[in-house]
Symmetry: C2
Subunit: 185 residues, 2 copies
């Protein structure tokens, strides 16, 4: 058997993640059976579980990619871009996050790992950016960076909840309201 190149391995990994995302979005976490994962990825269970030890690991990798993408977007284009992105994500996929939330609530080990591995550098960079914006007088200074960040987290989670419910949400009024909330007073 010829040694597979790193490029090949990464392409195969991506193929699994893309197919699994479709399966989770369509059938939910529990409903995404091995047979359905095979159908959506176009790969055998042997191939799939050669790359990921379990279904949970596949889902965890997808959620991590989302978290990394959101954090990257924040760093590059600001929190408004994250609000717009979250409001635009397919509701079926967002629905799967209720499963993640449930798992993280009830499984301490999964929770610790999520906290540890969820793009810690990018998260720290966001906190830095908020602190810098506050120091430049672009954000209100009567609340802490942590309180402002927490509020944005609440708004983003709220958009996820409402969008996952299936309704489209216009992000623009929300961007306007949040901007006025965090503006210098």
């Amino acid at each position: 058997v010829p040694k597979r190149s790193d490029e090949h391995l990464e392409a195969r990994r991506q193929q699994i993640l893309d197919g699994a995302r479709r399966a989770f979005a369509r059938y939910g976490y529990e409903g995404a059976t091995v047979v359905r994962l095979e159908q959506e990825t176009g790969l055998s269970r042997g191939a799939i579980f050669n790359y990921f030890p379990s279904k949970w690991e596949i889902f965890f990798a997808l959620a991590q990619r989302d978290a990394e993408q959101a954090a990257q977007l924040w760093v590059e284009q600001g929190w408004e871009a994250v609000v717009r992105w979250v409001a635009s994500v397919q509701s079926e996929w967002l629905g799967v996050y209720f499963e993640l939330n449930r798992r993280l609530r009830t499984d301490a080990e999964a929770r610790e790992r999520w906290m540890r591995e969820r793009a810690p550098e990018t998260q720290a960079r966001i906190a830095e950016l908020v602190a810098e914006a506050q120091a430049r007088g672009e954000l209100r200074s009567d609340l802490t960076v942590e309180q402002l960040g927490r509020f944005l987290g609440v708004v983003l989670d709220g958009i996820v909840s409402q969008t996952a419910f299936g309704e489209r949400l216009d992000p623009e009024p929300i961007v306007t309201l949040v901007r006025d909330a965090i503006a210098p007073k």
Copy 2:
């Protein structure tokens, strides 16, 4: 058998709802088995399902009571009281709402019933109150009543998400930020 008084019936109904709430909070919706419902309510399955046709009906009644209580609080004491109340509710119970959300997403009939029966008069009264506050110049007028209400819904759902995750959330910075967001500009 003597005819049971309405008062007795209502007390028994309440006993079931209180016990079931504890069972759902402790074990989750799926994990709240009939045996556990019996333990927490102190009643037999015969008695329980004499009052409610199914576990889903018990949960639906509890969620409706929460929605009614929140709406009533809003009418009587304003949205700030609802923010503080949601932040204070036991996280274990809020976690059960992810099950409700999942069910409402995937079951069109349940969703329609929820929309129809979720305290329509009180919901309408809230919309009225927001419109009146806007007319009196107490709220910004560059956004519609629907957009302002939607924003508050996003914030409340976001608090539920974060609190259900198990962390306590200080509602006061959020109240301050939302107040400034919706204030006249």
